[in-house]
């Protein structure tokens, strides 16, 4: 690994200043993506900025409206060990518990997963389905970016040079709402999603009021399946409705073939997983 310097600022101002001064600097949260990338020479940097000492990046709060503000460096274990998160955002807690193995969850954060901007990132489809926003900070001020607009290409985010992800904000779930993330991996753990699907459903009486469907690893960035979601609105949550939505979701995919699966296989999985994720979410929403 090439030499880099290390700094651990304890305020947003200091961090933003460092990032402004060294445009090639890389923020370090859990390091579970960054360090392997630096080691493999996929990225180089003169300066690693450890952001874990910045209070805003390490806090997990739920405001009076029930919205969750998740510091960008909060490691996974703090998410699934937080009783409030488990009660109000169970899908998020479950997601945090499948991101890597236990030692990875001791370090890795959803913010890091988002900033890494991998097409197969597990967190992003679920965050998209949950209407999450990325809250950023730079010397020129704060911004709020919908998660669906955050990734612009494989490994590239909408963050401007010198801009730092501070937190992820997830609005409270309306009543009778549930989200679910489902991925396919060949092993049962320690694997990258071949396809991942995040969904959320809000029920009203006997129909689906709103739905949201996002897919990972089927395009250069995680994508929303808007038409598929729209097809469910005001529909009874039947197997046929889910089948139709899953087929529509499949149509927006633009997968590649690689060592994790062929394009054909990924398209097929997009359908299977969307259907299954909707079924999971329906059960959870009905029970909530």
């Amino acid at each position: 690994m090439k030499w880099f310097d290390y700094a651990a600022p304890d305020s947003l101002e200091q961090a933003a200043e460092l990032l402004a001064r060294y445009p090639e600097a890389r923020p370090l949260a859990g390091g579970t993506d960054l360090l392997p990338q630096l080691r493999a020479g996929k990225r180089t940097t003169p300066l690693v900025v450890d952001v874990k000492k910045i209070p805003e990046l390490s806090s997990l709060t739920i405001d009076e409206k029930g919205a969750l503000t998740l510091g960008a460096a909060v490691p996974c274990y703090r998410i699934y060990e937080d009783e409030r998160v488990c009660a109000r955002f169970p899908a998020l807690a479950e997601l945090a518990s499948i991101l890597g193995g236990i030692p990875i969850q001791g370090r890795a954060s959803l913010g890091g997963n988002l900033c890494n901007a991998s097409p197969s990132a597990d967190a992003i489809p679920l965050l998209m389905a949950m209407h999450a926003t990325a809250e950023t900070w730079s010397t020129s001020g704060a911004r709020s970016i919908p998660v669906e607009d955050f990734c612009i290409a494989p490994g590239r985010s909408a963050l401007a040079p010198g801009e730092l992800l501070v937190s992820i904000r997830i609005p409270a779930l309306p009543p009778r709402t549930a989200a679910h993330y489902l991925r396919f991996i060949p092993r049962n753990e320690m694997d990258i999603a071949v396809v991942g699907v995040g969904v959320s459903l809000t029920l009203s009486d006997s129909v689906i009021q709103t739905a949201r469907i996002a897919l990972g690893a089927v395009a250069p960035t995680p994508i929303l399946a808007t038409e598929a979601a729209a097809s469910l609105e005001n529909q009874a949550p039947t197997a046929a409705a889910f089948e139709r939505a899953a087929r529509l979701a499949q149509q927006v995919t633009r997968p590649i073939s690689d060592m994790r699966g062929t394009a054909e296989y990924r398209r097929h999985l997009a359908y299977v997983l969307t259907r299954r994720a909707l079924e999971h979410a329906l059960q959870a929403a009905a029970a909530s």
Binding site: M1, I192, M259, Y265, H268
Partner: protein, 748 residues
């Protein structure tokens, strides 16, 4: 002998090296620290096939902290000759060429140059500054591709050896051989059913957790000292001496603890390079591979193309069998296809057989042994065809196997006539096992069985045993201990000496301190080094009888040894009591033995597996798994079970997910432990075991090596189980979710 009762053999003592290994104190190769230590790094080829036009090392040499750079040009000009360094006869140029490429690179990851620097980071950075000008050449990645006329040639001077004769034909086929028995045409004509199927298996890696490493110090007295992770310290000594043109006595190799090998740590990769760097710098140099280097730069086991044809009578009796085996050797000849050919029908007594083997070079890493090398590929093919025949004939798959099972006196097509073997006993144990009869309910679930064979090797082993005054003994051996063999060897000495296993202190030593000992491989250590320990212990007893006789004023022939005591009429003294009186009876007692045993007894292993397939994703889950193996005599049953469980799980990984996923450019796209996907604890159930004991008449305690046969049957058994679960016959490894989904789509 089989009725004899043992005091030590068959018990489960704590392994002698255990405490050091659970406290972190055991020293593995990469743990070496030394004053003045430099760190090495290797530059590897980014091309699968290319001519090296030039190498410019000046920028690397100019980097602060860099102490030396070496290339193949730094090897002494030894010329070429045929050598046998433990892996069969090989041109020296192949071994040397694989360590540092000269002229051409033959696979992506082929070592081209190396650097020594004051830190591993600087060494790696310097390696990246070496400028190599390549002329890329077209590459061939599979055996069928490489065998095609007009295929790009890896070695312009490689002439095909055919049926034992050197031909003038230049091709990528290093060798084509044939084994024949009986009259194949007549055999197929007699059959009521003939099935012919084709199979493809991917290249897979042994996947040991510890990467290769070596530290070398070319001392000021001219001696070369090496510390490394190897399955055979003497192989490292002899290979390094050969390549560096040194007498073997000038090289001393200290085998450190080894973090797994499975055959992959027999070849030499780093030691001569570390030695050259040490020679240039006058300092010790340590090189540790990264995981990516392990995947790209060391020997996986061959991918293969296999065609199997079997004919059977209506009652299930096999009348004829034919196999074509084309194995990918990687960059240099030696694809283990010989072993594939000897094992492909090893479980069966078939009167008419022809087996053709092809050793084919391709632009992939030079292959190495992997646990029963060559046998798993072959058994995947044979055992799935056998399953299909059983289905066609409406026979129980184990009954069909029993009907045709090899036994004492069966002659294989390669000429070997079996001595006492346990094939029938293993099949009967499978049939009688509760797992085989247990109901398996639920959709998309199926059960499969298969059997596999591995020879086990003899080869030389040396051992000395010194008697200590406290009644214990120190056992010095040359076999690297990868999985508890210090204990399985010590237990055999303890049994002879009538002392507890804990009273034997086994030590694995360097090449200066023990007689020549071949590799820990071929399931030979408990068998052969155990035999050496047995003989050395007998030597101790002979000498101790003389001492007892001296004490008692008798002829040594009057002294008996029984139940841990030396006895003669009216006299008795325990082993420990006599050990305390050696000084007064003539001085220390040291027993010694060297063996080169011929009585190897092959081992059969079978498995029963239940799977569940998700028909929408193609993912297979292992619900239940039972491994049954003939151990001859289980010295330490826990470690026999451990071999069976470990081999089974490697077989499961090979079956379901593991593969070198190669791009058309010869790049391995999944060269990390994330994407190579070896099984984790969460992917498996408990692995049940049943040890069958059909003692090997060729060993004093009846030992058969148990290290390998267990990996052979799982891929076939899983394929057979998948068929029963979802109705598709898998003829390609791995049976990964996308590959299985392909077949499910074809079916629907």
């Amino acid at each position: 002998m089989s009725t004899q009762s043992y005091q030590v053999i068959g018990t489960r003592p704590i392994r002698h090296d255990g405490v050091d290994k659970v406290t972190g104190r055991a020293l593995y190769g990469a743990d070496i620290q030394m004053a003045g230590l430099l760190h090495g790094a290797i530059l590897r080829s980014p091309h699968a096939h290319a001519r090296i036009r030039s190498i410019n090392t000046s920028k690397a040499e100019a980097l602060a902290g860099v102490k030396a750079v070496v290339t193949a040009a730094d090897f002494p000009p030894t010329g070429d000759r045929i050598v046998d360094l433990g892996e069969g006869e090989t041109p020296l140029s192949y071994i040397r060429g694989n360590i540092l490429a000269s002229g051409k690179v033959l696979y992506r990851g082929h070592a081209v140059a190396a650097v020594a620097a004051t830190s591993p980071h600087i060494a790696a950075e310097a390696a990246s500054l070496i400028e190599v000008e390549y002329e890329p050449l077209p590459c061939v990645l599979t055996a069928p591709e490489a065998m095609r006329p007009g295929a790009p040639l890896l070695h312009e001077d490689l002439k095909t050896k055919e049926f034992g004769q050197q031909t003038d034909r230049v091709s990528n086929i290093a060798e084509h051989f044939r084994h024949s028995l009986g009259d194949l045409e007549k055999g197929f004509a007699e059959a009521d059913i003939v099935l012919e199927r084709e199979f493809h298996t991917a290249t897979v890696h042994q996947g040991y957790i510890e990467p290769h490493n070596a530290t070398a110090l070319w001392n000021n007295d001219g001696r070369l000292l090496i510390w490394c992770s190897t399955q055979g310290a003497f192989v490292v000594r002899d290979t390094t001496a050969c390549i560096l043109d040194l007498p073997v006595s000038q090289v001393k190799v200290t085998p450190m603890e080894i973090g797994g090998g499975f055959g992959g740590k027999i070849p030499v990769y780093l030691e001569p390079v570390a030695a050259l760097l040490s020679k240039k710098t006058g300092r010790p140099v340590k090189i540790v591979m990264s995981r990516k280097e392990v995947f790209e730069g060391t020997g996986p086991t061959p991918g293969s193309f296999i065609r199997i044809k079997i004919g059977a009578k209506r009652d299930g009796r096999f009348t004829a069998a034919q196999a074509d085996l084309a194995y990918e050797a990687g960059a240099y000849p030696g694809a283990m296809v010989g072993a594939g050919a000897m094992t492909v029908f090893a479980a069966y007594d078939i009167p008419n057989v022809t087996i053709d083997g092809y050793d084919v070079v391709v632009n992939k890493p030079s292959t190495a042994a992997y646990r029963a090398p060559g046998a798993t590929n072959a058994a995947f093919a044979t055992e799935t065809v056998v399953d299909e025949i059983a289905e066609h004939l409406g026979l129980d798959p184990l009954d069909l196997r029993l009907k045709n099972a090899a036994k004492e006196g069966t002659r294989r097509a390669d000429g070997l006539k079996y001595r006492r073997i346990g094939c029938v006993e293993v099949l009967e144990a499978m049939k009688a096992h509760p797992h085989y009869r247990a109901p398996l309910e639920g959709a998309n679930r199926g059960r499969g069985v298969a059997i596999g064979y591995w020879f086990n090797a003899g080869l030389p082993s040396s051992c000395t045993i010194s008697v200590n005054a406290d009644g214990s003994v120190t056992l010095v051996e040359g076999s690297t201990d990868i999985g508890g063999t210090r204990t399985s060897v010590a237990m055999q000495a303890a049994e002879v000496l009538g002392i507890p296993a804990g009273s034997v202190h086994p030590v694995v030593v360097d090449t200066d301190s023990v007689g020549f000992t071949a590799v820990t491989g071929g399931s030979r250590t408990t068998f052969a080094t155990g035999w050496a320990a047995y003989e050395a212990a007998q030597d101790v007893l002979r000498q101790m009888k003389e001492r007892a006789a001296k004490l008692w004023g008798l002829e040594p022939s009057a002294v008996r040894f029984e139940g841990g005591h030396f006895r003669a009429s009216g006299h008795e003294i325990s082993f420990a009591e006599l050990a305390a009186r050696l000084a007064e009876t003539g001085g220390p007692v040291v027993g010694r033995a060297t063996v080169n045993p011929r009585g190897v007894g092959g081992s059969f292993a079978g498995c029963i597996v239940d799977v569940e397939v998700d028909p929408e994703t193609g993912k297979t889950s292992i619900l239940r798994f039972t491994s049954i193996q003939d151990a001859g005599r289980a010295i330490h049953p826990s470690y026999v079970e451990g071999q069976m469980q470990g081999g089974s799980v490697q077989g499961i990984g090979w079956a379901l997910n593991e593969e070198y996923f190669m791009g058309p450019d010869g790049e391995m796209r999944n060269s990390s432990l994330l994407d190579y996907r070896m099984p984790t604890a969460l992917d498996l159930p408990m692995i049940d075991t049943q040890i069958v004991e059909v003692p090997n008449p060729g060993h004093p305690f009846g030992v058969r090596g148990v290290g390998e046969a267990n990996i052979v049957p799982p891929p076939a058994a899983i394929a057979n189980a998948i068929y029963r679960a979802v109705g598709v016959r898998m003829r390609r490894l791995p049976m990964s979710p996308p590959n299985l989904m392909q077949e499910l789509w074809k079916k629907s």
